[in-house]
């Protein structure tokens, strides 16, 4: 019997380390012979901490929302008593968890299954088999043609065919070439790459080494954002273990092929996710994009041919070489083969990491896998592609998730962030939020991007503040066009997307802000007022104790009042007022 505990960042934040402690204590106390195994994020982040009980027939029982008390129960009833604790059981041999139904795990094949800190475990799950075959039996051309056959497209956002980049880097003459893994994951609402590096770092290393062989590179870098300390630690550990085993380094599998990998930490700039900026940053400079061509495949790191791919792209590579390009292209759609990992977050019931075949509809992902909206509120929009993407409304929920269909909606597939929004999310505020982000992250090289985003942000702030003017939406659209036209890199070119899609699909919300000075979602602070209904208020004082501004006063058992001048419009009182009274109103 084994117990497996999910120790990704999300699990740890939810208290998985305490769970592990109590599991170990119980085993010791009861003198049991049970192996405890760490693993990465299995994707059910909403139910963290997660714990698997694996019995002697290798049957897996997954428990969610585990606390030290639940651990006790599991030991008493399941491990000693042989009957699973139904209350916390998410999945079991005869009980499928709907979150996993419809998923197909390729890039995430090992996440939540193996111990990411144990190379042996990866090897036992067919790890490094593909690399071995590649370097001992295949030519670089054969590798590239297998990738071509698979139809794999870059998972970092733009969806560029991977084989094409590899081929270009291969064909550029030069002795020294480089492989870069883009783990900058700048989209504020996405965590696929973090989970992959935390949960299965070796598959990324293996993919990079295969790319190195195909391209003719001996050195690779992982550029990882510094906000991911655990991912960096696990990747470093994996590199060290692979080197010690002789799987990375000189003369890999006796083939004569050398490949080394090191990690460079990003320093917190979204624009450094753009490939030319990333390279500038690796060279120790300010991370500013430059004009392409030349593409990195022609002239990249220190002017040498460089292949740069996203984490998830590399994680798919060993699977493709092990199972064949055909098996990969058999999944998904014709133009977007394979699977895609999404980070499902926002106002969703079951958030987490999901991997689905391309072509599944947004509705299936959000409602079948994600379980719909938190608190059974009304769905409003789903945001794809982060600051470069857009908001897709309810009427387009049947759009299949593939690169081309998503592009048609005005959003982009992006790297896989999928943030769900409900009736309480203000779409003008969302547009303002993203513009604030891109405006502050613009590197400042292009006038249109630097100043255009600033002007757009000012207009959006004005609208949210109730100072919107007739013609503001048209003005936004006009500037948006100029920013798109006059920007050098993807940041500026796509910065207007969140604004344009929200105007396109939620124009009525803009009008309500501008004409009626009302925020339909009741989010924009300048446009709402919190009041206490004296008829309903019982003077219980709960709201006053929760108010951060201490601006609610009143005698016990008498109606309370809010001092509007001091009110921060935080909404705490609204939430605090017991549901049997519902005395706080917002309008």
């Amino acid at each position: 019997m084994k117990i497996r505990i999910g120790l990704g960042s999300c699990g740890i934040a939810a208290g998985a380390l305490k769970v592990k402690e109590s599991v170990e204590a119980e085993i010791q106390k009861r003198g049991l012979d049970i192996e405890v195994k760490d693993t990465g994020c299995i994707g059910m982040c909403h139910a963290e901490p997660l714990l698997d009980v694996i019995d002697d027939q290798e049957r897996v029982f997954t428990y969610g929302y585990v606390t030290p008390e639940v651990v006790l129960k599991i030991f008493d009833e399941h491990i000693t008593g042989q009957s699973p604790v139904e209350q916390y059981l998410l999945a079991a041999p005869e009980k499928d968890y709907c979150f996993m139904a419809g998923q197909k795990r390729v890039a995430l094949r090992n996440c939540g299954v193996i111990n990411p800190e144990n190379l042996q475990d990866y090897i036992e799950h067919e790890g490094y088999q593909a690399l071995k075959r590649v370097v001992t039996e295949m030519t670089p051309e054969e590798v590239i043609s297998e990738i071509k056959e698979s139809g794999l497209r870059g998972r970092g956002g733009a969806g560029f065919p991977t084989w094409f980049k590899w081929d270009a880097a291969r064909k550029t003459p030069g002795d020294i070439k480089y492989i870069i893994c883009n783990a900058d994951e700048g989209d504020p609402g996405a965590f696929m790459d973090r989970s992959l590096l935390e949960g299965d770092p070796h598959s990324v290393l293996e993919g990079m080494a295969i790319a190195g062989y195909a391209v003719g590179a001996k050195e690779g870098f992982i550029y990882c954002r510094a906000e991911y300390p655990l991912a960096i630690k696990r990747a470093e550990m994996a590199i060290k273990q692979a080197e010690e085993r002789g799987i990375l380094g000189k003369n890999i599998f006796g083939s004569g092929f050398d490949f080394e990998i090191s990690i460079k930490q990003g320093a917190g700039a979204f624009v450094c996710g753009e490939e030319t900026a990333l390279i500038a940053s690796l060279e120790g400079e300010r991370g500013m994009p430059r004009l392409k061509p030349p593409f990195p495949a022609q002239s990249g790191y220190w002017g040498k041919p460089t292949n740069i791919n996203n984490v998830e792209t590399y994680a798919n590579v060993p699977w493709i070489l092990a199972n064949g390009g055909k098996a990969f292209s058999a999944m998904g759609t014709e133009k977007s083969p394979g699977t895609k990992v999404f980070a499902l977050a926002g106002k969703i019931k079951r958030g987490g990491l999901v991997e689905v075949p391309m072509g599944l509809s947004l509705r299936e992902v959000i409602f079948n896998i994600g379980g719909g909206i938190k608190g059974d509120k009304q769905f409003k929009a789903v945001q794809l592609g982060g600051p470069s993407g857009g908001c897709i409304p309810e009427e387009l929920l049947d759009t299949p998730v593939d690169y081309d269909s998503i592009n048609q909606t005005g959003a982009i597939m992006g790297s896989g962030g999928m943030v769900v929004m409900d009736e309480t999310t203000c779409m003008v505020d969302v547009a303002r939020f993203f513009l604030e982000f891109t405006q502050s992250e613009s590197c400042g090289k292009c006038v249109q991007c630097r100043i255009g985003t600033k002007r757009m942000l000012e207009i959006l702030e004005r609208i949210c503040n109730g100072e919107g003017q007739e013609g503001d939406t048209e003005l936004l659209q006009e500037i948006a066009l100029k920013v798109k036209e006059g920007s050098l890199c993807g940041l500026g070119q796509s910065a207007p997307n969140p604004v344009l899609t929200t105007i396109r699909y939620f124009r009525d919300e803009y009008e309500a802000h501008i004409k009626d000075k009302k925020c339909p979602a009741k989010q924009c602070k300048s446009l709402i007022t919190f009041r206490i209904d004296p008829e309903k208020c019982r003077g219980c004082g709960t709201c006053a104790s929760k108010c951060p501004a201490k601006c609610i006063t009143g005698e016990k058992k008498k109606p309370h009042v809010i001092n509007q001048e001091l009110c921060l419009k935080c909404g705490s009182c609204f939430e605090a007022c017991p549901s049997k009274y519902q005395a706080v109103t917002v309008e």
Partner: protein, 180 residues
């Protein structure tokens, strides 16, 4: 070009006062001396030693590593990770990413600012807490999230966030009194 005012010497003496940091700094610079393109890594190293980028250290690096001070300053100000001011003992990274934003991270921000009486990017006067807003800590399914010295907390409510901070402050208080 050499200057005669001895300012370099003075500067070096100032940094040397903290001997163990000086030692680490020397080791760091040795590691990267002569390696092109290491500026970002050097500054990350300096920040790991001092907790921020002291002006004098940047100037010292400029003179000993033969890098223009303007270039160092340019890189240091380009990246949000680099700080030109010291951080408090507890570094609060409050997520303002998309998932946290739609789940009400702004209310957490308001509550923390009121509690500590500081704005984002500032440090409390007792140097205990520094508050920074960041975009996505990668724990979006626990939104809203904050990270304090590499430990993530979520999902937060204003109350929960304040409790975590008050607990930390209280443990400091205790440690302090115990010390006396």
């Amino acid at each position: 070009m050499s200057c005669t005012c001895q300012c370099n010497k003075q500067q070096e003496n100032d940094i040397k006062k903290d001997a163990s940091s000086w030692q680490s700094l020397q080791e760091l610079l040795e590691q990267y001396r002569g390696k092109k393109g290491s500026l970002v890594a050097i500054l990350q190293g300096v920040q790991a030693i001092y907790g921020y980028l002291p002006q004098q250290v940047m100037d010292y690096i400029a003179s000993t590593m033969k890098i223009k001070p303007a270039k160092i300053y340019g890189v240091a100000t380009f990246y949000t990770q680099f700080r030109l001011q010291p951080v408090g003992k507890y570094h609060i990274l409050l997520c303002q990413g998309t998932a946290c934003h739609v789940n009400g991270s702004e209310r957490i921000l308001t509550a923390i600012c009121e509690e500590l009486n500081i704005k984002p990017n500032e440090t409390t006067s007792d140097r205990l807490f520094t508050l920074d807003c960041v975009a996505c800590l990668g724990c979006c399914s626990l939104a809203p999230v904050m990270m304090i010295n590499e430990q993530a907390y979520g999902p937060l409510t204003p109350d929960k966030a304040l409790k975590i901070i008050r607990d930390l402050a209280a443990s400091e208080q205790q440690a302090c009194e115990g010390g006396k």
